[in-house]
Subunit: 301 residues, 2 copies
């Protein structure tokens, strides 16, 4: 089974089990809308890839750890799309949760997904109770205070913010949590895996900035040009498109280099490079670079 | 030390420890605003009272379990006060979080408090790792799907809802989680303690309905008459004020009767009756009943 298929299968199983019986049907539908909408599942796949490199000795716990992180990611997208933040109508080509179900249910959907993420971890850890605490702590670090994705989003509400700190928290934290969770689920030391998550997270953030500039709304599945519209920091604006693409490639190289010694090192490095191509297909930025002179893009603030 | 003093002390300690260093300062301030605003701390006190009845053999874990439930309660208040739900300007006599810090930070404050609740449990459970799973599961049941407080709030977004189910989820679930957490933190069976939480939770919901009718906004610390305004189900409207007060007293009796055999049974029953008096001081409803004929109140829908 491919990593993606394994992730999708465990998402279905875990969400169903954690939903229980008798939940409000519209809340359930809104949560399903948020979770099953064609996401790339990059965080849980990363978690599983690291687990495989660490021996995958508790596959159900690794699955749950990946699912939990994906639910956290989905929760953050639902809340970030709301009018208080991006006020986005579309996500992955479909109406956002607040557009489809209204703001009250969107607010509750995010809350319920955060709780469900912890519930999924709890449910799966009965055979390995000593791994639950470290996995919970790791996930909370990726999401909460002081520098998880919620803190990252909150830096947008400050008058002064350190750009690197903001970006590490907003995107990087959950990638670091994903690689570390893969190790923790196997009872392994997560420390050697943090750098891979950090590099990939930063690369992903840069790719997102680039995609926001070069892709149309149709290809993005959400409105394009949002960083400029919301005056958000963007590497594509700071370095210009050409500079941003070189920066992205450097980060992918760093990510591949940071894979620690393990039997699957080659496979993992290959996965990193394939993911880079999925994020920014060479064809699309080459076409874009041909159309637009560097100078114009470099000053596009 | 009184139960309340013990709760306040552990809230300060745990929130500080779980906040870490370097979090966005306005998010931190908004979270402090949400948590330290003169709440009655009834859920953590209930948790601690049950822990004491069960031997209080892991006081730090009991403290953390109570703190975690209070953080969940605070998170739900922040989100419920937002324009998507109650659109309330005041809470406990002070501006609500979205009024003081804006909607984006209010949204993130609720999210961060939910994550922090789990973090507090994780941090405190290192000496008793086998108690973490059951405590986590218990808290998630009180908050998430299928019938925790988030599900309770979501029933307001359905066209059809079972009133008893709605009220049990909206308020009762976290009270049940509080009594059960007190037992679980001591490694005891939570089952005998669930009824106490359920009865108190229902009594608390009825008291809230009564207070919404009889107290002024100044005494409530938040806008009065909100149930009628938002067409929310209200026992005070269904049974009339007199009927609601009798129902409340019956629930308090049931709560006292449901305290299971333990060395502190008398003390716990006394606590239940004192809490009832705090919720609805006899003087205030007697004055109100004198002013308003029953018939008028009974038809006040």
């Amino acid at each position: 089974m491919s990593l993606l298929a394994r992730v999708e299968k465990s998402l279905v199983t875990h969400v169903e089990a954690a939903s229980g019986r008798g939940a409000p049907p519209r809340l359930l539908a809104a949560m399903q809308h948020a979770v099953f909408s064609g996401g790339a599942r990059i965080r849980p796949q990363l978690c599983l890839a690291v687990s495989m490199a660490c021996g995958d000795n508790a596959p159900e716990l690794s699955d749950a750890a990946g699912v939990a992180l994906e639910l956290m990611h989905c929760a953050s997208l639902v809340h970030d799309d709301m009018p208080a933040f991006d006020n986005a109508d579309l996500r992955r080509g479909r109406p956002t949760v607040h557009k489809a179900y209204g703001e009250p249910l969107a607010l509750l959907t995010g809350d319920a997904l955060i709780v469900m993420a912890y519930q999924v971890l709890t449910n799966a850890s009965k055979a390995h109770p000593h791994r639950l605490g470290p996995l919970m702590h790791n996930m909370s670090q990726g999401v909460g205070l002081p520098s998880g994705i919620v803190a990252g989003q909150a830096w947008e509400c400050e008058t002064k913010a350190d750009l690197a700190l903001y970006q590490r928290a907003k995107t990087g934290a959950l990638f670091v949590a994903a690689t570390c969770a893969g190790a923790l689920a196997c009872g392994s030391d997560p420390t050697p895996w943090a750098a891979l998550g950090a590099n990939l997270g930063e690369a992903y953030q840069v790719a997102d900035d680039i995609r926001d500039v070069i892709l149309s709304a149709e290809l993005l599945g959400k409105p394009a040009g949002q960083d400029e519209l919301h005056h958000r920091p963007s590497v594509a604006n700071d370095l210009g498109l050409n500079g941003a693409i070189h920066h992205f490639q450097r980060l992918i190289d760093q990510a591949a280099d940071s894979v620690p010694p393990c039997t699957c090192k080659d496979m993992l490095q290959q996965l990193v490079r394939l993911e880079a191509q999925r994020l920014i297909p060479a064809a699309s930025y080459e076409a874009c670079l041909k159309q637009a002179p560097k100078a114009t893009l470099a000053t596009q603030h």
